[in-house]
């Protein structure tokens, strides 16, 4: 039985990895909405933040993961975590070129520093550390900014080829909006992962990853765990050399179960069958959890420092934003800039799913803590009137799920018209590009001088979709701009107020 655990682990991991990849690169949306609930249920941090927003069954996946970890150890890190599986894949690819051997390494206590910061960050709803270190968020950034464009490039090239034979099967798809900073971050993160994996196996999971550190605390006391039979061990070191978490110490003949990521590789190589994955309710050999006096003092100081750090910007941050005149527009369903910035770990799922590519990673629009979180770029595109896919896909509830009728009325921002820049005023010719594209008729054309028509904005109907800003052809500056609402409002719906058109068509022809 113990020998087959690895196979089960590998197959499950590949299945999850496939599902997770589909989630991020399925730009034809064949499967993404069918599998998203299942896949996102098992993602730890998204589930935690989602649960914090709305404690429902769908968002309780992390509880299940905690229970599983308590029973069976860090299976999550080997099977569900996309970055964990990615590292395993990289290691496997490396093994084709050269034989890798690992050695035992004492644990880095720095991981608890990250864990402490992460816990305070969660309490004070500051998402920066998750944004930078959470495995799901970073996997998302890698997929959306690095792999998705490659897939789209292949699709477009194939599509062009087919179109020359009059086969319109693959569409020319637009590339997601690349923010150079998020692109560089994803690239750097990927290389960091590559270097850490090549050098030290699963080091990332046992130092930087806050989820790994938390689950490690639990898996230390897991019901089922890896243990060595000291009588039968022949000190062949095969298990040590294959342990990518570097957690098997042959001196004490013990496995550090807080770092063991339950890959089960060691079970297969042990010639004397002394390594067992079994129920060990009380491991008498294991040293008690002790971090030492020095670390205790350090952690108290760190705790205090991070508490004070997060206490300050957590609350005042969004308030300072709303005071700015030209504020960013957050996606529909995000309720307010504060709600978005305090719940988004910037996994970029919404940026990938957005059909009009209006969503892009912010730079410092939401402040430093909101880096890479999604914002609307109305110079590039605009928000489709009836679309609310970002609200359906968001795993954390930063963009809350809304209905279609809510979407039609949610006011993300308001359009402001600057007549002095308008074509009608500067060129004295008709234009009306903003009014014709406005889905709610908040922008209308009214008579101006010399029989011309000029736009007028009634912002009670405006939903801030940005169509007018996108369509405005005025150069060098657009004459109509959308300013984001710090707190989303509800727009009036004109259709409900209109009287039916009254037109007496003649029975015969008017010519």
């Amino acid at each position: 039985m113990n020998k087959h655990l690895k196979i089960v682990r590998v197959l499950s991991a590949l299945f999850f990895f496939l599902c997770l990849s589909i989630l991020f690169i399925d730009f034809y949306e064949f499967f993404v909405f069918k599998i998203k609930d299942f896949v996102l249920f098992f993602q730890f941090m998204p589930s935690v933040i989602h649960f914090k927003n709305s404690a429902v069954l769908l968002s309780s996946g992390f509880l299940l993961i905690l229970i599983i970890t308590f029973l069976f150890g860090r299976i999550y890190c080997s099977i569900c975590c996309p970055i964990g599986i990615l590292q395993d894949i990289l290691l496997r690819l490396e093994s084709f070129f050269k034989k890798r051997t690992f050695t035992y390494r004492p644990p880095f206590r720095i991981r608890y520093v990250f864990l402490i910061i992460a816990l305070w960050a969660l309490i004070f709803s500051n998402m920066l550390i998750y944004n930078l270190l959470d495995p799901f968020a970073d996997f998302g950034k890698i997929m959306i900014t690095l792999f998705r464009p490659v897939m789209i490039g292949i699709n477009n090239a194939l599509g062009s080829l087919l179109e020359t034979h009059k086969i319109y099967l693959l569409f020319q798809t637009k590339y997601p909006t690349l923010n150079i900073a998020s692109f560089l971050f994803a690239l750097m993160y990927f290389f960091l992962l590559l270097i850490m994996t090549a050098g030290w196996g699963r080091l990332y999971c046992n130092t930087l990853c806050p989820v790994g550190s938390l689950l490690g605390l639990i898996s230390r006391h897991a019901l089922f765990k890896i243990s060595l039979d000291k009588e039968r061990c022949i000190q062949c070191k095969k298990c040590v050399q294959i342990c990518k978490a570097s957690c098997i110490d042959l001196l004490t003949q013990e496995a550090d179960n807080s770092r063991c990521i339950s890959c089960f590789n060691c079970l297969r190589v042990c010639p004397s069958h002394c390594i067992q994955y079994k129920m060990a309710p009380k491991n008498i050999h294991e040293a008690p959890f002790s971090l030492g006096k020095r670390f205790f003092i350090q952690s108290v100081l760190l705790n205090l420092a991070s508490f004070l750090f997060f206490l300050k910007p957590g609350k005042s941050h969004a308030a300072s934003l709303s005071a700015v005149k030209q504020s960013p527009v957050s996606p529909p369903g995000s309720r307010s800039l504060e709600h978005l910035t305090q719940n988004c770990i910037s996994c970029h799922l919404c940026i990938g799913i957005c059909p009009s590519n209006v969503l892009e990673p912010a730079l410092f629009d939401y402040g430093i803590n909101g880096i890479f979180q999604p914002k609307m770029n109305y110079n590039r595109s605009f928000c489709n009137y009836e679309c609310f896919k970002c609200s359906l896909i968001c795993p954390t509830g930063a963009i809350e799920k809304i209905s279609k009728s809510e979407k039609l009325a949610v006011q993300m921002g308001k359009a402001y018209f600057y007549p002095e820049k308008c074509i009608v005023v500067t060129n004295k010719t008709d234009c009306g590009a903003c009014a014709e594209i406005c889905p709610t008729h908040a922008v209308r054309m009214v008579p101006f001088e010399n029989g011309l028509m000029i736009p007028i904005v009634d912002d009670s109907y405006c939903i801030g979709c940005g169509a007018c800003q996108y369509a405005c052809p005025a150069l060098p500056e657009k004459a109509i701009l959308v300013n984001g609402n710090a707190i989303h409002e509800t727009a009036l719906i004109r259709k409900k107020i209109d009287q039916p058109v009254n037109y007496n068509a003649r029975d015969d022809f008017p010519f």
Partner: protein
Amino acid sequence: MDRRHFLKSLIGYLLFYGSMFSFKSLRNLHSQEEDSSVNPYDVVAVKGGEPDQMFDAAIKILGGMKTFVKKNQTVVIKPNMGWDVSPEKAGNTNPLLVAQVIKHCFQAGAKEVSVFDNTCDHWQSTYRNSGIEKAAKEAGAHVVPANDKKYYRPVEIPGAKILKDALVHELILDSDVFINMPVLKHHGSARLTIAMKNLMGIVWDRHFWHRNDLHQCIADFCLFKKPDLNVIDAYRVLMRNGPRGGSESDVSTLKTLILSRDMVAGDAAAAKIFGAEPQDIPYIQIANEMGVGVMNLDNLNISRIKM
């Protein structure tokens, strides 16, 4: 040469020359038909039927679709399919009418019929929600994307005042027959959008038009290429809040269809159906002055059919 060979060749010669005669007579017959059908009417207007019935009646007056589409030709149809709204809201050309035109093209022997528009809203949802994608595909046409700059090629527009060049969709340049299928509707800045305005959907950069005298650009672009046939849908007409619409309360069901080779004449007739005067629509006036077509309906031969 034996007898069998002689007989064989005799039959062969007879067949060959016989067929020559028959072809010749056919060709004469055909050209006569064409002669008689050269502008029997400049404009055909139909009222009171369903979109497909009205088209059947109208195209018959012009000698059937074979007047416009010859065997094995490729046809491109450009409906107004710019807005992500359902057919009832009259923001786009009637899908039933588009399907009927496609069917007539195939009956006339068309090899291929393609349909596209450079949409204003997101192209895939617009194609879908307009109902045209489904109707056109069922009728056997290719529904072709126009969402990428790579589909467009630069052209020059001789005689244009402002819009001297443009990027035009490759299918317009490569197809044998071009059928323009606008819907008549209100337009906030152009006043009305009909046949000439519909051609904005075959170019890539529309910002230029808006920036540089919209009406002159609309008229200028008509010098580039005249559609072989304009089928103007006025079954459901968006009377206000155009061109996008979005509410059925803005729609009036006029059950009208206009066919014309001349975009200016078609637009003038459609404007009158809407209750406007052609000379009040600046681009119709400009196009008339530039000689694109004839705006004064009194000078034209109009067939009027009431169903």
